[in-house]
């Protein structure tokens, strides 16, 4: 943030300046809001004074002038953020981020687990700022709900353990039918990260996914896999799943006769039960599922259909991401989720995955091709060859790989 900018808690004497900022900042949206809604977002100074009773207000001061503000209201389930505005001439200086950081610090200090706010779909810059700051889109709110102007809610979990080690694979040797495929693989994944594991056919990518998920046909020869500091390899596949491990299949299996919603509710409730949380009955679950389905743009008609039966390739992959959304895993391994998808389906799937990124969980993308990484930008790229990771780097590595081809890393593997 610009050195001339200072963020501080507002005092009652700032009320006029705060009201002024709100009316200036929201002026550009006057035509998009109803008059009632406009009155709410631009309250007069005396109303601002009243708000000091409800919760803290912050202001940003630049060159001794108040240029931005935000306020919060502590509510039982979250810290509600409202009336955030930055004057047009002070935008682009990182002031928005600074305000959100102040709010988040306040939230953590006061033991809130979640930040919550309402915005409107036309406030594109604001939504971008919130998303950059780790907020996720919640539900759409109707015009009736909020003074005739439809909008959406957004929220962010705070005080989590972002950056904590989630998965640690140490010198893993594993294979199938007596053939060793993974030959000393090492991998570390922390919470909040997205990893891509790339490699040519036969490099062992899919074997790694299956070993992590616990496929009974694969055997671990030696090595260690720690998941949240526990020995993952000791757990049965279903225990792993209930502990938050999820694998999206390259070839999702069809389950005729069982509807998607029956199946998903069973899976969801098994997890809830395991964690001692409340299970959902069919009606409650249906509402939950409807919300989740929006993430992958799936219509509710898919809920009644048998799991994956008669689904196109793209629909099956979307259904995998829907399952991921429903089960809210800590570690999601997406095994060749991009294979067989056309560009539109790929975009929907990738956007779905992006919406599910958060600070408490990690995603491992296993893929042959770089194109998925145009849509889901990884924090770390690993390149596999001959059963090991042979190269690691940032997102640029994927592009370099695309350019030079896998022979480049195959050379690296054999020269070791």
């Amino acid at each position: 943030m610009n050195a001339n900018v200072q963020i501080r808690r507002a005092i009652v004497d700032d009320a006029r300046a705060v009201a002024d900022i709100l009316s200036k900042a929201f002026a550009e949206f006057a035509s998009d809001y109803t008059p009632e809604a406009m009155a709410v977002v631009t309250p007069p100074p005396d109303e601002i004074v009243g708000r000091f009773e409800e919760g803290p207000i912050w202001v940003a001061v630049k060159d001794e002038e108040i240029v931005a503000t935000v306020s919060v209201v502590p509510e039982p389930e979250w810290l509600y953020i409202r009336s955030m505005a930055v004057l047009p001439n002070a935008q682009g200086l990182g002031i928005g981020h600074g305000l959100l950081e102040a709010v988040e610090r306040y939230g953590i200090e006061n033991n809130f687990e979640r930040l919550f706010l309402y915005t409107t779909h036309f406030s594109l810059d604001a939504i971008r700022l919130y998303e950059k700051h780790g907020f996720q889109r919640g539900r759409d709110t109707s015009a009736e709900e909020w003074f005739g102007t439809p909008g959406l809610s957004m929220d962010k979990k705070i005080g989590g353990d972002n950056g904590k080690m989630l998965l640690e694979v140490k010198d893993l040797h594993a294979g199938i039918d007596g053939k060793e495929i993974l030959k000393g693989l090492n991998l570390q994944v922390r919470k909040g990260e997205v990893h891509a594991i790339m490699g040519p056919n036969g490099s062992g990518k899919s074997t790694l996914s299956k070993v992590l998920a616990g496929h009974p046909s694969y055997e671990v020869i030696s090595g260690e896999v720690l998941y949240e500091d526990r020995n993952l390899l000791e757990l049965e596949p279903d225990e792993r799943a209930r502990e938050g491990l999820f694998m999206a299949f390259q070839y999702p299996v069809e389950v005729p006769g069982v509807s998607n919603s029956q199946f998903l509710r069973l899976a969801y409730n098994e997890k809830m039960k395991h964690h001692g949380l409340e299970e959902l009955d069919p009606l409650e679950f249906n509402d939950y599922l409807k919300e989740k389905a929006k993430i992958v743009d799936m219509s509710p008609e898919f809920f009644k259909r048998s799991v994956n039966e008669g689904f196109s390739g793209g629909e099956k992959k979307r259904n995998e991401i829907l399952q991921m959304a429903v089960l809210e895993p800590k570690l999601a391994i997406l095994d060749e989720t991009d294979s067989g998808l056309d560009i539109d389906a790929l975009r929907i799937v990738a956007e779905g995955v992006n919406k599910l990124r958060n600070a408490d969980s990690a995603i491992v993308l296993v893929t042959h091709y770089q194109r998925l990484l145009n849509f889901i930008v990884p924090d770390v790229v690993h390149v596999m060859a001959n059963g090991k990771i042979v190269k690691e780097g940032g997102k640029e590595l994927a592009l370099e790989l695309e350019e030079k081809g896998y022979d480049w890393v195959k050379g690296a593997a054999s020269s070791r």
Partner: protein, 381 residues
Amino acid sequence: MVNQFTEQFKESLKSEESAWLRGLRTDAFSVFSMSGFPTVQNEDWKYTNVAKVSSENWTVSGKNISNDAELAGAFEMLLKSFDYKRNGFTALNLAFANVICIRIAKETNLEKPVEVSFAGDEETATFPHVLVIAEAGSKATFLETYTGSGKNFTNAVVQIIVEDNANLTHYRVQKESAEAFHIGTTDVMLGRGSLYNATNINLGGALSRHDVNVKFTAEGGECFVDGLYMLNGSQHADTHSIIDHAVPNCVSHQTYKGVLNDKSRGVFNGKVFVRENASGTDARQSNKNLLLSNEARVDTKPQLEIFNDDVKCAHGATVGQLEEEELFYLLTRGLNKELARNLLTYGFAEEIINKIEIDSIKKELDQAVLNRLTKLETEIL
């Protein structure tokens, strides 16, 4: 030859007022007296030993009073055409037949299903004989259920005619007690452009047998003859079907599924005949069986006999256990092994049950299937 039914037959014949029917019953009873029940030496009864049926003492229940006026015309012709000589059960049925006539009038569309249900009491033998005529252009659903108690013997026959361009949906639900003996015969004749859609559910009975015979009598007919047998304990269920493409350009679909647990035993014998002149026939038949225990057993024999080159036919049978990959998929979603197995089994059976369009019946069957799958029952409903 005198048998356990001889005295009871003499007695019941006294109340038969129709002369032609008295004659028919007498002939039928003498056929039964000569042949007795079929034995395993008979190729059609090779896997199904009914010795236990004949060794019990049965009291014939229900009266065989029939109404001459009602039985006149088409129903009389239909009953007279019944081939009771094929085995001892069909002969015995006609001898004691409690005849019920159902007519779906020409060009009518019945919203509500026509229902018949039979519940035999302990130690009794019941002999329903239902005649169904779906007249030209009509549309209806016919529901037939069997829910006896204790050790009883039900020997039922249903004769159906689906006339030209008529559409009949037929649900046959056999939920007899676990000790019951159930023998059923369904004969169906299909007219020009008719549609017959049958779902046969077999859940009950210590020993049950269902023979279903469908014959196309004019071009453009189509039939679905599907079924499910879900067995546990030491239940034995046998389905014998014959689909007879006697005329050109008819379509038949047959999907039978079996779920066999414990020491249960299933038999499926499906014959499809495509006669010499029946060009343009399209016949599909499949029988899939899921064995849930090492001691369960199924004998399946799909047979196609084709005497014409211009046909599309496919048939197949499978006997197997749950697929490893399917199980793994469910495990990775957090379902434990038992739940995963039960869910896959439920899904396997549901493919047939899902065909049923009467909500109350479908729910009841869902429940019946779930009752057999411990743990799943409470989770899914």
